[in-house]
Assembly symmetry: C2
Homo-oligomer: 696 residues x 2
Amino acid sequence: MSRMTDVPKRLLLGRALRSDRLSETLLPKRVALPVFASDPLSSVAYAPGEVLLVLSVAGVSAYHFSPWIAVAVVVLMFTVVASYRQNVRAYPSGGGDYEVATTNLGRRAGLTVASALLVDYVLTVAVSISSGVENLGSAVPFIVEHKTLVAVVMIVLLTLMNLRGVRESGKLFAIPTYCFVAGVFALIVWGVVRGAVLGEEMRAPTADYDIASEHTGGLSGLALSFLLLRAFSSGCAALTGVEAISNGVPAFRKPKSKNAATTLAMMGLIAVTMFCGVIALALSTGVKMAEDPAKDLLINGQPAGHDYTQNPVISQVAAAVFGDGSIPFIFLAAATALVLFLAANTAYNGFPLLGSILAQDRYLPRQLHTRGDRLAFSNGIVLLAGAAAILVVVYEADSTRLIQLYIVGVFVSFTLSQTGMVRHWNRHLRTERDQAKRRHMHRSRAINTFGAFFTGLVLIVVLITKFSHGAWVSLVGMALFYAVMTAIRRHYDLVAEELAADDTDEKTVRPSRVHSIVLVSKIHKPTLRALAYARLMRSDSLEAVTISVDADETVQLRKQWEERGIGVPLKILDSPYREVTRPVIEYVKRLRRENPRDVVSVYIPEYVVGRWYEQLLHNQSALRLKGRLLYTPGVMVTSVPWQLESSEAARKRAKRRAEWNAPGSVRRGPAIRPGAKSAAGMSSGKDGEGSGQRER
Amino acid sequence: MSRMTDVPKRLLLGRALRSDRLSETLLPKRVALPVFASDPLSSVAYAPGEVLLVLSVAGVSAYHFSPWIAVAVVVLMFTVVASYRQNVRAYPSGGGDYEVATTNLGRRAGLTVASALLVDYVLTVAVSISSGVENLGSAVPFIVEHKTLVAVVMIVLLTLMNLRGVRESGKLFAIPTYCFVAGVFALIVWGVVRGAVLGEEMRAPTADYDIASEHTGGLSGLALSFLLLRAFSSGCAALTGVEAISNGVPAFRKPKSKNAATTLAMMGLIAVTMFCGVIALALSTGVKMAEDPAKDLLINGQPAGHDYTQNPVISQVAAAVFGDGSIPFIFLAAATALVLFLAANTAYNGFPLLGSILAQDRYLPRQLHTRGDRLAFSNGIVLLAGAAAILVVVYEADSTRLIQLYIVGVFVSFTLSQTGMVRHWNRHLRTERDQAKRRHMHRSRAINTFGAFFTGLVLIVVLITKFSHGAWVSLVGMALFYAVMTAIRRHYDLVAEELAADDTDEKTVRPSRVHSIVLVSKIHKPTLRALAYARLMRSDSLEAVTISVDADETVQLRKQWEERGIGVPLKILDSPYREVTRPVIEYVKRLRRENPRDVVSVYIPEYVVGRWYEQLLHNQSALRLKGRLLYTPGVMVTSVPWQLESSEAARKRAKRRAEWNAPGSVRRGPAIRPGAKSAAGMSSGKDGEGSGQRER
């Protein structure tokens, strides 16, 4: 059919393919929330504890600062949420921070965000898994005793799950996330009821302990404020993953942007409520957290020692409110662990997607971009898991130490994305004339400006307060990713330049005639097929070529050749040293020398076998020969396959592989209408999306 | 040119290629001896010790049996040498035991010999290296302390050397071998002079020690004779590698057979002289060897204990004759070690060669057969080294324990080869009429019959006396090789059957028309070249196909396509999910469904890059697509390469790889005239040869 008729057909086809599953794919808010919020919500499991940990350095007395820090975190949370509500409206395509930064601040900024996000994914896995294990451990001591091992095992499990291509399902996410939220709220409510209404006294397991501190006398103003800033940066762990929704807009039901914005707000609200609730309960139940419990946590005046494991705040509070080992306590611990593992899983969904977008922009190997490329996705996933596992092992699955690395990346992308948004509004304000719209834009810009300023400030604070505590590690990681991606992009650009078709090409490149060669080892079906196919091609000249590796076999062959009366001349290349490759290469080169404007077309009969060990027994020399021929100019190499019976199995296997589901489909939402600047091209951020990628 | 003119040309060419290095390749006797005899001669370094070891079980008194055992070994040696002189005459092509057994006793026997030889190679490496280390250790104690480690390191070194394709050189072999022989003879002569002439008393380091034995009272007749048989079997270690020359005939200067036979005789003579000399000196210098020195060797009545290392007889004798640590002592120790390492190296030369012959007979993957197939050779070498290393580690580089495994394989091939020779003569006697020849044949047959009988007897003795001591291990190894090779052969036979061209094929296989497809991602030089080439092929229909992965890019592409006015219709396949493979496969399948008798020819533009990591960045989806297409019937896949500048490097690399020297070239001698039943095909045995393989 003609090219003209393709577009409509394609649109139709495309639609047809998509429409049938639209309903099932688009997420209602109640499902979208758990899908995108498992990461930010789960951070409630560790953020509060981090705050107390840091404060404890100035002694228990410093705990009374925690509400203020909570407030600061809340304000920050609202700022970030408000800012991202602007992103959501401005980039309904689901533009992630990478897109926002790239389009508004240029390639470098975009790449920085991308590096930050990649590091962020790794840490999401490391931190969430570690914290999950710690929470599980509060109910099952055995687990804590083998923390690192369990954490690594969990990573391996998640990896295998995602390698097998398990599809992310909204419902699968909804249940544990809602259980977790419900559990925490029940905890808070029941805590308030018991404490305020029934006036019962609730005491955390660590209530009677004390904390050793060099600064019992209280800290000097400067040192104190530094400490508070550090505590605050730790608290900022609660914000990780907030941006997720801004990448998922196309996955929402219509009106997409509005729904996304609402969900974002809900998410923020729930998160801060839980965060504050937990901190409040922690204070009222007298939870004690020490940075180094082994020596700083005093039990009846004695240091706790190394065999003491410090349970997460949330589980200590649960122990106080519900009673240690009670059903609701266990339930909450399980839900917390589960939601944390889900949070880790989001990284497995996001990483390959961001990868595919970076590949689209040629910062990563192209094949990451094409779909159903299991290999590429797998590599991404294994890379992610490997890095996370290394971190977990190095930091002994200690969430506290891992969080020091975590927050930097998050705020790098926050800041750049918000700054980008400011630019975005400025640009639009230049052209926009509608007063209402302008007013709206001004408001949005104001919000984003404040967001950029605030997150930027936090970033600086984090860098100052956390650098020596490990933030430098993630900076190194970012630099690494940045360097590699720039190198890859440079390579692609160079190649593109080298390959660019100038106008003369078609003339210079076009050769005059084709000389075809069919490689023959013996006369069997594959050879005959290759000969038949070659004949069909009506090239200017056709000959069969055999390499005389064994004198007798060659004599044999020539005899058969004449008997069968095959109408193609058989040329025999002498190979006294039993080489196959060189004689052919040399013969081809000679042909080229004789008529330089000719093209030599080499037909290689190949068997297609089923099993890898069969592969070892066949085609090896053919493969090697091909490899060599590809380096010889003016040659094309044609494989004429002959499918052996055993190949059936392999065909099926290959098919299965091609139909493999890449992780992270749901959150991407359906592909967007073709013609628009492909969301695939531009969408990105922690969870990529709109990439028009979906399983059938 | 026509087929007819090829044969003479090929002969000429072949000759031309060979003649230029004939001189440098053919070995004069004085060089052939060290090349082929390093293995059998070196066994003098451990064989005598083994005899004493076993005898010591019956106490020192039993040592006086050793001369008789030496005599037995000598007789056996002469028998074997005499027998192989017949082989050499009967199979000037350098027929190894494998050929002799296969042609005269059939496939099974041949395969058994082959398995035996393969095991034999592994053990040659293990034993020679271990013994080499022990001899070196007698001069440098440090080495003995880290025996296993040093041995493994040596194996690794040899392996790397052979992987790099170092060429075996006659001279390189000559020097250390002659040093060793000279050293041993000097030892004997000087020993005799000092002892008999000057009447000095020479005492070995262990002269004053005694040996504990449960049988001090002497053994019962039966037990004793069993012990003597065991001692004899151990002594037979001196015969390992004798057959080597019989494979190397074509490497000799003319008259090949005669020279080979002479060399064989010389070798036997030297070997037995050294063997007996060493044993005699060992007795007269009072060397004491115990099977378990730690507990059975008594120093002033006390067991030697575990930190005692028992030095090889040859070095103890040297210590007695030359004086411990004297220059000649060190010299001999070094020469011994060196010649032993050379002996190990012969296995590295023989293994891949036997492999290539077995491959020719389709018992091993075909590619082992083709020359310059570095990959295949490397695999063989690594396999050999790996197996040897495992043995060395398992047996702690203890040559004594390893030798228990060694001798079985050797005598399996001796026996079968000799039996084969008997058959050979019988066959010829049936036809031969010339009386002189017949007499000669009768003599030869008599010799071989005796050889077969004697070696067979020894084989039984070895099996009985050594089975529990480890011989079973090598039997298991042989069974393993046998099974694998049979399986491979079966596979090849099945495939051959499936592929066999019946007369109808050419009709059924021949399709009607070709529909060509050029895969286009963007318009650049590779695409244009692919288009140009495809056009040349004048197939019945030609279209360019692109997969619309990104809507914009596609629009772009179509625009350019029209601008350039490329005369080929551009078909756009919709791929809303960014797959590349599936749409193409499905499209091809559709074409096939529509006209089942058509062939679809798919042209894939490929870049050829230089470095492996560049490869990662390109062609991945092309490769995968090719893989899938090969499973689709009625399709041929054409790669149209575009060589990037960086590919130059890789081309050179590939060339180098193709010019790599496979080990074991010298001993193979030059290729034999084509037309003859290819010696390549049939020659074999410990060092394979005449395979018509040689470096340029």
